[in-house]
């Protein structure tokens, strides 16, 4: 089931002289199973937008719809009763009482929000800064533990998510603080994966990593999306990264969504993207320069192998 943003606006510091509109009437759907890249200049509203997807920020206007339900809506009486039934059992006093209290509603709301957080995993920038446990095992188990899962299930998830980020069992009893930067980050990502989300949002997951660490993390995420069918949403400043990994790109500027489409479609707007303070992949830049000299390309080329093949073909044809 997709996440939909409907007519979302967000205003910081409303009613003060510093009032700022971070998002302005955004309509956007994140379909299932895709690898989606979000690009945008600093301050374009990407961070605000992704924090709405799992309910950390409440939009000033508009609704966030996950699997058909508005995630910020107050739960109906029926839903509160349903929650009490699953929480305390069918013949419990809590479920059978006539009047619902404010406390019940609050608990139900927190419970539903927890479900949203479970389905939509969010990995912040520099996620290694949120590690806090004595061992890697305990740290990864923090999320599943908050979901109230059984011990066996937690153990299974810890192992599975550790494996997904490319680390083995020998790490379980180590302290997260003795790892290298790239490894710490992988452990932190595993901490979110252990919630087994249907949507995984990564905010600049490769910032500050060397090229190898970057390729490893992004490769793992692509593999995860292909194998498990979850949706991966990648926020990145690197046009090469989104061009290479994403099926679909969302380009944001100044609180608006400017372009949505395949990498080739979006990067065909080279000049406009540059005006928004964004770049295009270097290969596409080369194509743009060649087109200015009068060469004609059949499509937008995004990576070096394709460009090489095309240019070599042209060379052979003309010589």
């Amino acid at each position: 089931m997709p996440i939909q943003l409907k007519d979302i606006s967000y205003i910081y510091d409303r009613g003060t002289p510093g009032e700022k509109r971070a998002l302005d009437h955004v309509d956007l759907t994140f379909p299932d199973g895709e690898f989606i890249g979000i690009i945008g200049h600093t301050g374009s509203g990407k961070s605000t937008m992704i924090q709405m997807l799992n309910g950390l920020i409440r939009p000033t206007e508009g609704t966030v719809i996950l699997n058909g339900t508005d995630i910020f809506k107050e739960p109906e009486d029926e839903q509160v009763r349903e929650y009490l039934k699953t929480r305390f059992g069918e013949d419990s006093r809590e479920f059978l009482k006539k009047k619902l209290t404010g406390k019940d509603r609050k608990a139900a709301k927190a419970f539903f929000m927890l479900q949203v957080r479970r389905k939509v995993g969010l990995v912040f920038q520099y996620p290694e800064h949120q590690l806090f446990e004595m061992t890697i095992e305990k740290d990864i188990a923090f999320g599943p533990g908050n979901l109230g899962l059984e011990e066996d299930e937690i153990r299974r998830r810890v192992l599975r998510s550790l494996e997904m980020v490319g680390l083995d069992e020998s790490y379980l009893q180590k302290s997260p603080f003795e790892l290298s930067g790239g490894q710490k980050r992988r452990v932190a990502i595993a901490g979110v994966l252990a919630m087994e989300p249907e949507f995984l949002i990564l905010d600049e997951p490769t910032a500050g990593l060397d090229p190898r660490g970057r390729d490893e993390i992004l490769g793992k995420m692509k593999q995860l999306q292909k194998e498990t069918g979850i949706t991966v949403i990648l926020v990145s400043h690197s046009m090469e990264d989104v061009a290479n990994y994403a099926d679909r790109i969302v380009a944001m500027d100044n609180g608006h969504v400017r372009y949505v489409g395949t990498p080739a479609q979006v990067f065909s707007h080279g000049e406009e993207l540059k005006a928004m303070g964004l770049n295009i992949p270097q290969v596409t830049e080369l194509q743009l320069q060649l087109e200015k000299l009068g060469y004609v390309f059949p499509e937008t080329i995004l990576d070096i192998p394709h460009m090489e093949a095309y240019l070599m073909g042209e060379v052979k044809r003309t010589c």
């Binding site: 799992n54 609050k106 608990a107 800064h129």
Partner: protein, 282 residues
């Protein structure tokens, strides 16, 4: 979540008082406080209140904003008033069992409350019109004589300004970590006190680590720019007194002296009355 908290709240209106040398404001506030404690009669208190109102007008800060900031001392104020009302001996006005309210007690309560409120307003006027960094600068200069007896004045001032600078940074950091842990299903709101305290561990541990990391990085960055304490260090903005400052200090000294003189006002008044009576008879 935590963004709304303001500390060392500076209210910029660019008034005459904002532009005074921060040392003038520290000294002026000090003089005002001395004046307040020398006052013994209600006349003096009224005089102090009037001069405070004039100063507030000059700062152009809305009175309502200043009063709102005094909420923090409400409990202390209540405590003072109630204690004074019941504890001071004198002519009984109302008696409730063993407790009795005296006329003198009421007078004391009003007097003490007035003094306390004005004390707080005077101090907050200083912080509202001076940025925290200016304030530490002023303290460093004013306390400079203490260096003779080996008080590390510069180091204390530097620590104060770094601490002040770090408050918003750590607030933001806390906000970020709380969000990151919420994304992993952490719940900071429900549960009892112990549950809530426990739920803060996933926030406090990363916060401490990050505070130490930042401190370490800052120390390296300062050393890389040749910081080695007070020795031979010059300033880009030397504090300088101007005519305004001298005038302001004179006014504040006069105010303190005036407040001191109000002690003798009742005496002077009764003397005048007595003289009047004698003259009337004669």
């Amino acid at each position: 979540m935590l963004r709304d908290i303001t500390i060392g709240q500076y209210y910029d209106t660019d008034s005459l008082i904002h532009r005074l040398d921060p040392r003038t404001k520290v000294v002026g506030t000090f003089l005002f406080i001395i004046g307040l404690f020398l006052v013994k009669s209600i006349f003096g208190l009224v005089a102090a209140a009037l001069s405070l109102l004039i100063i507030i007008r000059i700062t152009k800060i809305p009175l309502s904003f200043i009063l709102r900031g005094q909420k923090a001392i409400a409990m202390l104020l209540l405590f003072t008033v109630v204690l004074n009302m019941f504890m001071v001996a004198g002519d009984v006005l109302v008696a409730i069992g063993p407790l009795h309210i005296t006329f003198q007690g009421m007078y004391m309560a009003v007097f003490m409350a007035g003094r306390l409120v004005m004390l707080m307003i005077g101090c907050s006027l200083m912080t509202l019109t001076t940025t925290p960094l200016q304030l530490t600068d002023a303290l460093e200069r004013l306390l400079r004589p203490l260096k003779k007896i080996h008080v590390p004045v510069h180091d204390i001032a530097m620590m104060m300004s770094i601490a002040l600078r770090f408050i918003p940074i750590l607030m933001e950091e806390t906000d970020k970590i709380m969000k990151a842990q919420s994304a992993r299903g952490a719940d900071f709101e429900s549960g009892g006190l112990i549950q809530k305290a426990k739920s803060l561990i996933p926030v406090l541990v990363p916060l401490f680590i990050s505070a130490f990391r930042r401190a370490d990085e800052l120390a390296t960055a300062m050393e890389a720019r040749c910081y080695r304490g007070d020795e031979g260090r010059t300033k880009m903005k030397e504090l300088k007194y101007t005519v305004k400052d001298h005038v302001a200090k004179l006014i504040m000294t006069a105010l303190a002296a005036g407040l001191f003189c109000t002690r003798y006002l009742p005496g002077v008044l009764s003397t005048i009355q007595a003289i009047g009576k004698i003259l009337g008879r004669g």
